[in-house]
């Protein structure tokens, strides 16, 4: 009894430490976003002296930010949609069919996931400029899809593998073609998996910085994480730190909301292959 009581206390302490470690920077940014632009450096305190929404107003009235927000949303959604459709088809084939080269495709997907993204940025920059994809939506969507696919394929094929094959055979005996069996039985059953894959892909695109800053030059296609770096704030003479913090909070909110809403699903999706498969 004593032993377990002590270990409980230790657990609580450890948890608290980790919580502070991870939450503190976020809280700090939130606090900064509510301070007056001039307050930074003059009054080094954690809490703002005068709470203000001004930074948020600044952020939303800046073209740089609003266009970046539209870019981010549009590019991420399109990349997610296309990527998940591809990944679903590929993962189904991998889980269900026995074809030569299946192993190679899977290892290839894994290799891409391991690939250092940064090393590709240089060549891609040159190539995109030559073929006219530089600073366009497709110029970002294409690399996003290729780098998000491996994770989506792995997640989804774990899901597909768990659907009993007999379900599909039953459909075939009932008179379904392979495509009908896939559409009417397999896809509805794999919906949670498809959903998880979609969320993960969306995060990947939404959070990307490297491609966003290297393959764009104007508000045409620049996504929010990259745009933050170019933020100047309202006045040229003040550091735009508080406004940048406000913008950071704005882009973080969708991520936090999605995670909170679908926490269980994401965890289940990430571990389902590992635990049962």
């Amino acid at each position: 009894m004593r032993e377990s009581g002590r270990s409980r206390v230790l657990w609580i302490i450890a948890t608290a430490l980790i919580l502070i470690w991870t939450v503190f920077p976020i809280l700090w940014i939130v606090m900064l976003s509510f301070k007056q632009p001039g307050e930074i450096g003059n009054a080094p305190k954690f809490l703002p002296r005068d709470w203000t929404w001004e930074n948020y107003r600044t952020v939303f009235s800046t073209d740089l930010f609003t266009s970046a927000l539209i870019n981010s949303i549009g590019i991420s959604l399109i990349a997610t949609f296309v990527g998940v459709v591809f990944a679903t088809l590929v993962a189904y084939a991998i889980a269900r069919l026995d074809f030569p080269g299946k192993k190679i495709i899977l290892s290839f997907a894994l290799a891409i996931a391991m690939f250092p993204v940064v090393s590709l940025v240089g060549p891609l920059f040159n190539l995109w400029r030559d073929i006219g994809l530089y600073d366009t939506w497709p110029g970002l969507i294409i690399p996003y899809i290729s780098f998000a696919l491996p994770l989506a394929i792995w997640t989804l094929s774990a899901f597909f593998r768990e659907i009993p094959w007999e379900m599909e055979q039953a459909a075939q005996v009932d008179g379904a073609t392979t495509w009908q069996a896939f559409r009417k039985v397999i896809v509805p059953l794999a919906a949670p998996g498809v959903f998880t894959a979609a969320i993960l892909t969306f995060f990947f695109c939404w959070n990307d910085f490297v491609f966003g800053i290297s393959l764009t030059s104007t508000g045409n296609a620049r996504p929010v994480p990259a745009a933050l770096a170019f933020f100047t704030g309202e006045s040229q003479f003040e550091q735009p730190t508080t406004a940048i913090c406000a913008a950071a909070v704005v882009v973080t909110i969708p991520v936090v909301v999605i995670v909170l809403l679908f926490q269980r699903r994401i965890v289940a999706g990430l571990t389902s292959g590992a635990v049962k498969g």
């Binding site: 039953a170 005996v173 009932d174 008179g175």
Partner: protein, 428 residues
């Protein structure tokens, strides 16, 4: 409705394993055929080849007059109940049953009518809006049946449909399936390894062993006139006792005692073999004290030591251990292992009348009905004393019984139970 004809069917899996070897089997139009055999003998494989989920390595499969070797499952017009039911978890009971009809693009009114009729027959009407996950085992089983019978399939295929149910429900569903099949009169192939299902449901039973078809016949024929040791041991519970014996022209010398062999046909069948295996079913023994003097004349009496008795109320089992020569004992052990039986030592199982007062440890007199014993060749396992005349008579009897049962069922439909009328239309 259609007959299913299999000619020299072979299945070799990708890893080179031959699961079905040269099986030829005719399932007649409207017949209820049972496939039995120990685990892993290829029953499911054969069934899946019929329905088209497994490629046929060689041989010919016909449904009606059509060779279906290369035909996709959905074009064979068969319906199947899977062992784990394979219901669609995202659809309601109604939609599960309607699934084959929707795929066939039937008009909505017809779908609705047929689903409701089927649900009525299977007593699922009040569950139509529920999801399979919320149903009990028996209800799920009925939904799977509903999905199978809702359209006019040429044949029904069942893969151990009752194995997930508890004993009581299994009994209920067994009679249900039997009634439904006789009423619809649809050709049916039913895989099981349950003795009772095999004996009670089928018009004929096919016994498989390691992918090889052993015997096809009415349940009675398999029980009374098995072709070999394997079928003799597999059909019947508790299994037939196999006693090693030597034959001296008039008597069989078994470990339980000397038994006269009066029947000249059987004596001739033994020929000049030195050692044979004598097969006696447990119920062909009786406590000698309870056997009338006149009946005693028709059999033999042996004195044995009884090891254990089990009194069950309606009958009583006694276990009589015996010594067997090492080589034969090994062979018998292999056989009993193959039959999934749990007998570890050589002992005879004897069914006695419940009123018998024989107790464990006693020396007891047992009477053996020698007219019913079988003699097997220990080397090949072949039954030397199979009576072809009797087999033919049993065959004729089975045909007559089947006719009578069909007629009775059809009469019952006309003036009988309320659900009978609903059941007729899915049969088309």
């Amino acid at each position: 409705m259609a007959a299913i004809t299999m000619k020299n069917i072979v299945k070799e899996y990708g890893d080179g394993f031959k699961a079905v070897r040269d099986v030829s089997l005719d399932v007649q139009d409207g017949e209820f055929m049972i496939l039995v055999g120990p685990s892993g003998c290829g029953k499911s494989t054969l069934l899946r080849m019929i329905v088209g989920l497994e490629d046929i390595t060689s041989g010919e499969m016909r449904i009606g007059d059509r060779v279906v070797n290369q035909v996709a499952p959905r074009e064979r017009n068969l319906s199947m109940v899977f062992q784990n039911y394979a219901l669609y978890p995202h659809l309601t009971v109604y939609e599960n049953i309607a699934f084959p009809l929707r795929l066939a693009k039937k008009p909505n009114e017809e779908i609705d009518r047929r689903v409701r009729e089927t649900a009525e027959v299977l007593e699922l009407t009040e569950h139509l809006d529920r999801k399979p996950a919320n149903l009990s085992g028996g209800q799920r089983q009925r939904v799977a049946m509903g999905r199978a019978i809702v359209r006019q399939a040429d044949a029904f295929l069942f893969d151990e449909p009752l194995s997930n149910l508890d004993a009581k429900l299994r009994g209920q569903m067994r009679t249900e399936i039997s009634r439904l099949q006789r009423r619809l009169g649809v050709t049916t192939v039913y895989v099981t390894h349950d003795q009772t299902e095999a004996m009670t449901l089928g018009d004929r039973v096919a016994v498989l062993r390691k992918g090889v078809l052993q015997q096809v016949g009415s349940p009675r024929e398999l029980y009374e006139q098995p072709v070999n040791l394997f079928v003799a041991g597999f059909i019947g519970s508790p299994s037939m006792n196999f006693l090693p014996a030597s034959f001296d022209g008039t008597h069989l010398d078994t470990p339980l005692g000397r038994v006269p062999l009066d029947d000249p046909r059987k004596a001739e069948a033994v020929g000049d073999r030195q050692v044979v295996l004598v097969g006696i079913r447990p119920e062909d023994f009786e406590d000698a004290e309870l056997v009338s003097a006149e009946k005693r004349q028709r059999g033999a009496t042996v004195r044995v030591r009884v090891d254990v008795t089990e009194w069950l109320g309606n009958e009583q089992y006694a276990y009589v251990p015996y010594e067997a020569p090492a080589d034969l004992a090994g062979q018998l052990r292999d056989l009993s292992r193959e039959l999934d039986s749990d007998q570890l030592r050589t002992q005879a199982v004897v069914a006695l009348d419940a009123s018998s007062l024989i107790t464990a440890g006693d020396e007891a007199e047992l009477w053996i009905d020698t007219g019913k014993l079988h003699i097997f060749d220990p080397a090949t396992g072949e039954n030397l004393t199979r009576d072809e005349e009797r087999v033919a008579a049993l065959g004729r009897h089975a045909d007559r019984a089947r006719e009578a049962q069909r007629r009775a069922q059809q009469d019952g439909n006309g003036n009988g139970r309320p659900e009978a009328k609903a059941g007729e239309s899915p049969s088309g």
